[in-house]
């Protein structure tokens, strides 16, 4: 939950202007907005990686999952050791973290690649390993900073479906930053549109499609209409 948060960078650039956003448990909210509008900054503030300059933030930091724009795997560790990393930092027992890591690797479909170094994996596989690493901590709140932005459309859609499957199983609350309107609509229970810098929230859409979502939804007219509405709001946000 974020209330009236503003953030001014040391050089005087105003990044966020009184943003208020409350996310209820079980919701999956996407943040969408023009480049440089402060979406990622808001996410980093929520994660405690950056300090805001005014306003209040309430987040359960201990049950936080976070994925970065790139997979951020440690290149000197094999997949298995990468997935174990966060548990290692949290002081899990070695046998326990091995068991959980193998479970998560299977869940994201990377079985058989445990002993590969990240440089041997494709972009999509790296992202899956990154997801497995976060999921291993069983986060109650999951923050995503454009995780699929660097992937091709086909891989992105497949990972969207996989993310929905994971969301259905693990029941985390999600905050998802993206540039892709269809991705936002497909994944979310709510889509929030931000203005250009300094970022403000200018529109919010409840996405009421039944869950769990299936790929057919992408081809329905309701889906296209929703995307169109958000597209229009985004366009206004960029001008206004």
């Amino acid at each position: 939950m974020v209330d009236a948060v503003s953030m001014v960078f040391p050089d005087g650039t105003k990044a966020l202007d009184k943003v208020t956003l409350a996310i209820k448990p079980g919701e999956f909210v996407s943040l969408i907005g023009p480049s440089g509008c402060g979406k990622s900054t808001l996410l980093r503030i929520a994660a405690g990686l950056e300090s805001h300059t005014s306003g209040d933030v309430w987040v359960d930091r201990d049950s936080l999952g976070y994925t970065f724009q790139d997979a951020t795997l440690l290149p000197w560790r094999k997949v298995l050791a990468n997935v174990e990393l966060l548990m290692e930092l949290r002081g899990f027992d070695p046998a326990e973290r091995r068991r959980i890591a193998l479970e998560q690797i299977e869940l994201v479909g990377l079985s058989g690649f445990e002993n590969h170094y990240p440089r041997r994996l494709s972009g999509g596989m790296k992202m899956r390993a990154s997801l497995a690493r976060s999921l291993a901590l069983n986060p109650a709140v999951f923050l995503f900073d454009e995780p699929f932005g660097a992937l091709d459309e086909i891989t992105r859609e497949r990972l969207n479906d996989e993310l929905i499957a994971l969301y259905t199983v693990q029941k985390f609350t999600g905050l998802f930053v993206t540039h892709s309107i269809p991705e936002a609509v497909y994944l979310s229970t709510k889509v929030v549109v931000m203005s250009k810098r300094p970022g403000r929230i200018v529109a919010s859409f409840d996405i009421a499609f039944p869950e769990p979502r299936s790929p057919e939804l992408r081809y329905s007219s309701g889906f296209a209409e929703m995307c169109g509405e958000i597209s229009l709001a985004l366009r206004n946000a960029m001008e206004g």
Binding site: L49, T72, W76, L86, L89
Partner: protein, 284 residues
């Protein structure tokens, strides 16, 4: 009326079937032949230069035959060469054993405390710019003629690249990897050990390779100033000059370069062993 299409100069591209993979002997030849031929050229140039020398100066460039009969075929010379190489190597390695840990410690301190970097770095550069042989007489006066001053000279020779490459490597750790650790509230020692060192290791090893090569050079330079104590290759070079045994001098020179190259290759090999699996600089 539609315009008629432009005339095209169509060209036929020929298919290029995959060539058969060259056999082992062919690949060996491709790898070894160029340096071998170059070596033969160098020997020819050597012989040609020697034949141009006046006869009374030809001792400066001993013949290959002389090198064999007066140096490499004689067991006592070989024994001397071996002992000298061991002495020089031990000076070089002892010097590295001082400069590597202290250099790494300094690199970490400069990384951890920005103010220390500002304080120390200019002096590192200053230290690097001092011609080290110029302070050897001072070291002799202060520390005498034993093993320690030689080791210190090697340490001075090899020091600079260690803290600087480690600092560069530590500063280049991926920002999001640091964020990843911060999200788990990892302390900086954890980050240093689990993210900093592995990430900086390839850069550090580039520095270590430079230092390793310099260590043998430093050891020999130090010996040129010290004609006491157990003799290393440097001392053998000087003695050969005094005794007018130029074949032995050349033998010592050859062993020096072999030693220097071996230490360099040792660190290269070690680096490859450690990083080739995951680092971009590694093999396929």
């Amino acid at each position: 009326m539609a315009k008629s299409p432009r005339k095209l100069a169509v060209e036929r591209y020929l298919a290029k079937p995959l060539a058969a993979r060259p056999g082992l002997s062919q690949r060996l030849a491709a790898a070894l032949l160029p340096p071998l031929l170059m070596g033969v050229l160098v020997v020819i140039a050597y012989i040609w230069t020697r034949s141009g020398l006046e006869t009374h100066r030809q001792f400066l460039m001993p013949t290959l035959e002389g090198l064999w009969t007066r140096a490499f075929s004689k067991p006592e010379v070989l024994g001397q060469l071996f002992n000298a190489a061991v002495t020089t190597l031990s000076i070089a390695l002892a010097g590295l054993a001082i400069s590597i840990p202290i250099g790494m410690l300094l690199g970490v301190v400069m990384f951890r405390f920005r103010v220390m970097e500002r304080a120390i770095f200019p002096y590192l550069v200053a230290l690097q710019s001092i011609p080290i042989p110029a302070i050897i007489p001072l070291l002799q006066s202060a520390l005498g003629f034993g093993f320690l001053p030689k080791v210190l000279i090697v340490a001075l020779f090899t020091f600079f690249s260690i803290p600087t490459t480690l600092l560069l490597g530590l500063k280049s750790v991926d920002r999001s990897i640091i964020d990843l650790f911060r999200l788990q509230k990892a302390g900086w020692p954890t980050m240093l050990i689990k993210a900093g060192f592995p990430s900086a290791a390839p850069t550090l090893f580039a520095g270590l390779r430079i230092s390793a090569g310099l260590a043998v050079i430093g050891a020999i330079v130090s010996e040129l100033f010290f004609l006491s104590g157990p003799g290393g290759l440097g001392q053998m070079l000087i003695n050969a000059k005094i005794d007018f045994k130029y074949e032995q001098m050349y033998a010592a020179l050859l062993v020096s370069s072999v030693l220097s190259i071996s230490v360099y290759l040792l660190f290269s090999w070690l680096g490859n062993r450690l990083f080739s699996e995951w680092h971009e600089s590694g093999g396929r």
